[in-house]
């Protein structure tokens, strides 16, 4: 029960309260770049959700088995080389490189796959799929997971990691879809010239961030509510 509560909290935390885009400012590039049309924005959101889940899964695995201090794989190598079982081998310095490698290759893989087998989908993403590689949101999710895998007060397992990834991806999709709707509307508006494009988009994002700040405290509220309901 407690884990379930925790998973729910991580999920809504990442999707609404600490929305990746509107609170953590990650994934701003596609948020500004691919939010001109609702359809493409939604597609982009789905692509990000997909990639973020895959790469978080892979990265969690890497971290758990290889990178974290005391991970089994290096320990096994160390011990088979005759090292003592006491020494912990910490390869976490490699985590950034490995993460970005995993992300880059999985995105490229997905890209090639989609291009080959789903040409219409590929066409609507077009140039944006490679953009996912340099999309902070993906790396950020892995880093967040890493943080919680090093933090002794709250050790995350795979379910938590995936809850964060999924929540983050869905939160991103929500934000970018709303943004795209608004920007389609803005095309018909008389926005001052200097603000057109990124300027007004950022201001809209700012107002959306204000609106999303309404969710502040929901984590706590849901936690207490679930607590009292389950009691």
């Amino acid at each position: 029960m407690e884990t379930l509560t925790a998973l729910i909290l991580i999920f809504i935390g990442a999707a609404l309260i600490n929305n990746f885009v509107l609170h953590y400012f990650v994934g701003i590039c596609p948020f500004l770049g691919v939010s001109r049309r609702v359809d493409t924005a939604f597609g982009m959101g789905c692509a990000v959700t997909f990639v973020i889940s895959i790469s978080t899964l892979l990265n969690w695995t890497f971290t758990h088995f290889i990178l974290r201090p005391g991970a089994p794989l290096p320990a096994w190598v160390w011990q088979s080389l005759g090292g003592s079982a006491q020494t912990q081998i910490d390869l976490s310095v490699l985590s950034y490189i490995i993460y970005i490698f995993v992300i880059a290759s999985s995105v490229q893989f997905v890209e090639m796959y989609v291009r080959r087998f789903f040409p219409p989908l590929y066409k609507s993403f077009g140039v944006f799929l490679p953009l996912i590689t340099t999309n902070c949101a993906i790396l950020f999710a892995s880093l967040e997971v890493l943080k919680h895998m090093q933090d002794s007060t709250e050790l995350w397992g795979l379910p938590q990691a995936l809850a964060l990834a999924l929540g983050g991806g869905i939160g991103f999709t929500l934000a970018i879809a709303l943004m795209a709707g608004i920007r389609e509307e803005l095309d018909l508006c008389d926005v001052p010239r200097a603000l057109r494009g990124a300027g007004i988009a950022l201001i809209v994002a700012g107002i959306m961030a204000m609106a999303f700040m309404g969710f502040t405290g929901v984590e706590k509220g849901v936690e207490t509510a679930l607590g009292s309901l389950l009691r």
């Binding site: 910490d90 002794s152 007060t153 709250e154 405290g217 984590e219 706590k220």
Partner: protein
């Protein structure tokens, strides 16, 4: 995306530069890590250790040791056992965390060795509203927890405290204040008994009579 021309030398042959660089960078990084990890660890340690004398008056940070303690909820937690310079046990520093108004709050709780009194409280990390909830990081708020009883839950009130386990809420930030108190209460509930047991078992001789467990 340009297509690689497979064939000559195969994929690996083409990627020699990448592989070479990977080896190079990997080694280099490990070197950097080797050189700096001591300092980074020290930094992290210092973050906690620098406040230890303040959290448990009389303790010497250099004499502090870290132990893993199994709490009432069956989860293991890190606890700092603090000692005087002469090595005698003065108390505990208990890291704790929980949900605040906006985000997680992480804090350290200083306790006497018998876990009867809260010696101090220090907020390590928080993201409460600037100018409102973030006043929990102020010394005057943290000082409110000094010398509060550790055997009963602390209560947050909006008026001047009447009982000794009451803490006056920050005005306009009752929720943050309550969250801090709740985190302290929960940590105490989890670790009060195990720590007391430890105190009796490990260092009965060191305990001053007034701190001794009944």
């Amino acid at each position: 995306m340009t297509q690689p021309t497979p064939g000559k030398g195969g994929y690996i042959g083409q990627a020699w530069l990448v592989i070479l660089l990977a080896l190079l960078y990997g080694g280099g990084l490990a070197g950097v890590e080797n050189a700096l990890s001591g300092k980074i660890k020290a930094n992290k340690r210092a973050e906690t250790y620098s406040v230890i004398p303040d959290l448990v008056p009389g303790s010497d940070p250099d004499k502090t040791d870290e132990i893993m303690v199994r709490g009432e909820n069956a989860k293991e937690g890190l606890v700092y056992r603090t000692r005087r310079t002469d090595g005698s046990h003065v108390g505990w520093v208990l890291p704790a965390a929980g949900q605040g108004f906006a985000d997680r709050i992480e804090l350290l709780i200083g306790l006497d060795s018998g876990v009867t009194t809260v010696r101090g409280m220090y907020v390590l990390n928080q993201r409460e509203t600037p100018g409102l909830g973030d006043y929990i990081t102020r010394a005057d708020f943290q000082d409110l927890f000094r010398d509060k009883p550790a055997d009963r839950p602390l209560a947050v009130v909006k008026t001047d405290p009447a009982a000794d386990n009451e803490i006056r809420a920050l005005s306009g930030a009752t929720i943050s204040s309550e969250s801090v108190a709740a985190i302290v209460n929960r940590a105490l509930a989890n670790f009060r008994e195990p720590l007391r047991a430890l105190a009796v078992e490990r260092s009965p001789g060191n305990a001053r009579p007034d701190e001794a467990v009944e």
